[in-house]
């Protein structure tokens, strides 16, 4: 499993001392841990804090490390609770986090309570930078900026919580822009990365290789589409994509649909589904079919399909692991919200 987030203890781990013991001169960053953290950031790994300290400790750590922390849990409860809250808040799996702490007891507590997490001492961490768990095969521009984007996400969520109004009004207030367009060769590494990393919004059970994606981009029988997202909090870059097989018959099939969970709740998957339905209708299709592996992990995707008018022929309890969700596209095309722009080529 690839580690997406490292959760750091502060005292004598990410900091070279104990925060509360030296109020006048709070400790600097630990050079070895900071070097490891910076290397991982450049590979697209994000960072978070779980510390038995007041919240000021997180602000201090941000200052002395220069890192963007996607989440900070400061308090006196069990560290395993902090880890669970971070995992839930970031919407990642517990098997995608590493927890680093110098205290043997804390490591044992987290290992027992969150067995999926990779639990490391600072000594382990210095070496672990070279482990395969911390070495995603390739690093895209989106991956390098991931920590920064999670920090922007925190700001956006804070504002959303105090915003009075509907989701659409909030998206408009954020100056959300969703740009849908045909994929080019330059998009292939990021599309491949999305196919590896996305689970909650992914119709396929397996990754798609760069070679396969490149062939599909060049294939006249296929339409490979990219979705980019930005708003006034920041630019998330390429957050989603799809591969459509333009059938000779009246059925177009979406053989791959995927979106980063970072874009969840921002109208992106709904915009892509509406755009795909419009595009299929314009291309002469009668229905748009989305074969989808059904698992507890991708329930958010099923919600988006259901909310966008797609239905599987069978109903009741999910039976086979895969179902085909369909919607008619020959009628009037679904509306696109005004913050979505699309280029129609490809």
């Amino acid at each position: 499993m690839i580690v997406k987030c490292v959760i750091w203890d502060l005292d004598n781990t990410l900091l070279s001392g104990v925060f509360l013991e030296s109020p006048d001169r709070p400790p600097a960053a630990d050079p070895a841990m900071l070097a490891a953290a910076a290397t991982l950031r450049d590979r697209g790994v994000i960072h978070a804090i779980a510390s038995r300290n007041p919240p000021e400790a997180a602000a201090h750590a941000t200052r002395v490390t220069g890192l963007d922390f996607a989440a900070a849990e400061c308090g006196w409860g069990p560290k395993s609770d902090a880890v669970r809250r971070i995992v839930a808040g970031l919407d990642i799996g517990a098997d995608a986090v590493a927890f680093v702490d110098d205290d043997l007891y804390e490591r044992a507590e987290v290992s027992l309570a969150v067995p999926e997490a990779l639990v490391l001492s600072p000594e382990d961490m210095a070496e672990a930078v070279g482990w395969p768990e911390f070495s995603p095969g390739l690093v895209t521009a989106e991956a390098r900026r991931r920590g920064q984007m999670y920090a922007q996400r925190r700001l956006r969520l804070q504002e959303a919580r105090s915003f009075a109004g509907s989701r659409d009004e909030f998206l408009r207030y954020c100056a959300t822009e969703v740009v849908i367009g045909p994929a080019t060769d330059a998009d292939v590494p990021r599309l491949h990365e999305l196919s590896v990393r996305t689970h909650q919004f992914n119709t396929a059970g397996e990754a798609m290789s760069e070679t396969a994606l490149r062939e599909l981009v060049a294939s006249p029988a296929h339409q490979v589409t990219t979705v980019r997202l930005r708003d006034r909090f920041g630019d998330d870059g390429l957050v989603g994509g799809s591969v459509v097989e333009r059938g000779a018959g009246r059925d177009w099939r979406v053989t791959l649909l995927m979106m980063s969970c970072r874009a969840m709740g921002r109208g992106v998957i709904e915009a892509l589904l509406a755009w795909l339905a419009r595009s299929a209708g314009r291309g002469g299709a009668a229905t748009l079919a989305v074969p989808c592996l059904v698992s507890p992990r991708n329930t958010p995707l099923r919600l988006a399909l259901s909310g966008s008018g797609f239905r599987a022929a069978e109903s009741g309890r999910p039976g086979q692991p895969a179902a085909v969700f369909r919607r008619p596209v020959s009628g009037p095309p679904p509306e696109l919200p005004d913050w979505v722009s699309a280029s129609e080529a490809g």
Binding site: S166, G265, E270, T299, L303, A304, R317
Partner: protein
């Protein structure tokens, strides 16, 4: 919804919906108002939060039992789905 058990469930679902969306005005949502689409505007994020809370509160795994998520059509259909299983 004349069934008293379902009516209790609906009242609690309304609270859950308000928490999942962070929108107090949704306390006024009618039993038969569609949850998807404009108006309530349930999406994949708020829908996931709602399903998680329903599972925790009523022990009913809607996503695991309803492939098309038809139960999420309205608060009324969701309450009926839960009342049927929790009984």
């Amino acid at each position: 919804m004349s069934d008293p058990a379902a009516a209790d469930v609906t009242a609690e679902l309304r609270d859950i919906l308000v928490r999942a969306t962070g929108r107090a005005e949704l306390r006024g949502v009618a039993d038969e108002q569609p949850l998807f689409g404009s108006g309530v505007g349930l999406d994949s994020l708020t829908g996931t939060l709602l399903l998680r809370e329903v599972h925790r509160r009523f022990g009913v795994d809607v996503a695991g039992e309803d492939l098309n998520l038809d139960a999420l059509a309205t608060l009324g259909t969701l309450a009926a789905f839960i009342a049927e299983r929790a009984a």
